[in-house]
Amino acid sequence: MLDADAADDARTIAQVLAGDREAFGALVARYARRLHDLARRLLGDASEAEDAVQVTFLHAYRALDRFDPQRPFRHWLLRIATNHCRNRWAARRRVPKPLGVGTDDDDRAAVPEPAARPPAERGPDAERERVREALAALPETYRVAAVLRYVHDLELTEIAEVTGDPVATVKTHLHRARAVLRRTLEPSHETDAGRAGTDG
């Protein structure tokens, strides 16, 4: 994030805290897309992602007086959104699944295996689609680290700040995420799966 944005955020927050509630709209407009992207990737569901964005901004507004202006507002929002998504995962795990439906890895199985479809069906955006699906298929903790690092371009310390994990843990999660992604996205895997799809 640019320093200019941070300064702008600080001004806007001061304005809101001074009683101008409408000024918060500028922050919503600035960060809604990033929050939506994070929630969409972590929750894997469009409607839940929209709810998550709304909940995140409402929560941020209610707790705005507790925001530390020395830290980036963007990271604070990402942290609230990440915690909300973790709560949603926990809530999903508490809901009993019907017999014979779903597995322990349901949250990653929500998106089909990236290369499970034949190349012909993937269309011109196949590469983008494959990467998106491979990220979605990561286990939750690895997915958080990978999405924040590669899609949202955060440094390790910033990811640690967002997730509340030590930097060493973030490194480990990223390393494991890369290992899974490499296996999922490697050409041989793609070719085999593509051939299997064509044969079938």
């Binding site: 509630r21 709209g25 809604a32 990033r34 469009a46 480990t172």
Partner: protein
């Protein structure tokens, strides 16, 4: 928390890593649903005032339940001690006043109370209060210990009530 990795991991130190990261970094953000910003803004407008927006004059005394119960018990004990302690000097003063010699002129000017009232208020006849005070004095520690026991009983009853409510799922 996941265990730390060794500082140098050959599996993660190849050209593949750069290629993989480049592929991941090329991933664009999901497009923002058109109506989402409007919906969030509307929800913010509809939401009640945030805690920091409420006027400072609004009462905001929030004590834990245990503290509230303790405060109530202290108040009850203080009230009990004041009531019991207050009876003694008042009755002593009344007895002093009653036994003091009254000037003739004043005594003649006062209306004479009926005989029944005089009989009841006579210090020579023991009243129900006298019996109560005598009973309290017989307890080890006197009236003070009764006040303390009463406060403890109130605390225990409140605590048991709170536990029961919690067990039933109430707040």
């Amino acid at each position: 928390m996941a265990p730390d990795l060794p500082p140098h991991d050959p599996l993660d130190d190849d050209a593949d890593r750069d290629a993989l990261e480049a592929r991941l970094r090329a991933e664009p953000l999901w497009p923002l649903p058109v109506a989402l910003v409007g919906r969030v803004t509307a929800a913010l407008r509809a939401a009640g005032p945030a805690p920091w927006e409420r006027p400072a004059s609004e009462p905001a005394l929030r004590l834990p339940r245990a503290l509230r119960v303790a405060a109530a018990a202290v108040l009850v004990a203080a009230a009990g001690a004041t009531a019991i302690g207050g009876i003694e000097p008042v009755s002593a003063t009344a007895a002093t006043v009653a036994s003091a010699p009254v000037p003739e002129a004043v005594r003649d000017a006062w209306p004479v109370p009926p005989a029944s009232l005089r009989a009841v208020s006579s210090p020579a006849v023991p009243t129900a209060r006298d019996a109560l005070v005598a009973g309290a004095d017989a307890v080890p520690g006197g009236t003070g210990s009764l006040v303390v026991v009463g406060a403890l009983a109130l605390l225990t009853a409140t605590w048991l009530g709170a536990r029961r409510r919690r067990a039933l799922g109430g707040r």
